[in-house]
Symmetry: D2
Subunit: 142 residues, 4 copies
């Protein structure tokens, strides 16, 4: 295992330990590597909106978390500056959602990421975002 | 009070009664009118990420909820198809956040909304999204 | 006329004199003030795509130019970092398009703008973007 | 060569023949396949803005054209409904720009595309957009 994968693993472990929101939503990080991450969760009944489908903001939060793990897996502390989402199909209570984040571009302190969120019946949403490295010190060294 | 304000109030009451996610996050709807809505919440400690600032996805969810109330206040059932967010300043635990949604454009079944999310020290995020009316029957009549 | 309006007028005059692309597309700046601008153009036959409607990129360029004038009207040199557009109705050859840019938020070196592009039959597109001030020296002093 | 590649080639030829804007900007389509396309152009002096760098709207138009060819290469007539762009580095007069569009997701009448625009020194911009099929009849059959 190379040094960059060790950095990715250490960053993910440190971030996850501190991320109370991810815990509260039942997310787990199932894979991480420099520039990529996979985060999963099951849609709870409490995450449904008035139309009885998973709140769009919940799907966004899952994708955004996957981007956070992917960007910090490069080392340093990276924050999202902007993001966009296309909701393509609804998710329902009990669905297992998988968000796969990968790097479209990375240069200097800036990263651009794409995240595809899938459920049992296919793609639920596509998300894109940009991150900025605000510190060279990463989550694992704080 | 005109008929359109009555529709807005009834839609908001019906939506809010059913929106378990908004309840779980402690949101309240402080104002609603045809095409606009204000939704507020206090950032809980459990909403912080590993950097001890409010998770970007939480700010997004608040803005997205404000757009949902604003769009459904026109009548019918309206769903978001896409949205984007600029995170401009961090929010911390205990901060009261206010999301004000207003209509940039509305024609036929399509609405375009802007939402400004403010905290105690000024603007935290700016959000934009598009909604589609998928049914002429609204939350209040289901 | 206040000093800030004088800055806006001087910046617009200097920018427009140098903007060969705006000239090539037939754009004119019909209004400018600190944080806002109106730019107009007529859709030429050469701007149509294979479907005989105005190319979406042309509508985007008009909106983007309006944001550029609005952001630089504050003083300094401001560049767009990202933008998004919703195309809501087609524009045809010969249509007069008017893009009105206004500031949603402005703090420090960052500005967030909304632009509504209208044609003879109503709104054609809604655009949003973010700008960064990269220099305190503006177009008028170069 | 399979039938789907023949459809892609025929659609590209028909679209390009009719796209006066692409001609006016000096674009060429250097590759096309179902769901992907590469479009190239050289930045002309007339495409510079007042800062002597290529207008952001020109880079957007190149990326948007690549998405148009990629989406129509699937068959039928597909129009963009929304798009976003991150400008990551400036392009200058004389630079050769290459826009590579690929499909992130495709289902039913909806497609989601990513486009990376590169110049001689690396990535200039990253673009994302969504298309809708508005007719099953494509450019080649009109």
């Amino acid at each position: 295992m190379g040094a960059s994968q060790e950095i990715a693993d250490a960053a993910a472990a440190a971030m996850f330990a501190e991320d109370r929101n991810a815990h509260a939503m039942g997310m787990i990080v199932s894979a991480v590597a420099p520039g990529s991450a996979t985060v999963e969760m099951t849609v709870l009944e409490s995450m449904a909106n008035g139309l009885d489908v998973c709140h769009g903001g919940v799907v966004f939060a899952l994708a955004d978390t996957a981007m956070a793990f992917a960007s910090n897996a490069r080392g340093g502390t990276n924050l999202a500056s902007n993001a966009s989402i296309e909701w393509l199909a609804p998710a329902g209570g009990g669905d297992r959602l998988v968000a796969e984040a990968s790097e479209t571009h990375h240069q200097g302190r800036t990263g651009v990421y794409g995240v595809v969120v899938s459920g049992p019946d296919g793609v639920v949403a596509v998300f894109h975002g940009k991150t900025k490295r605000i510190s060279d010190e990463g989550p694992a060294s704080r």
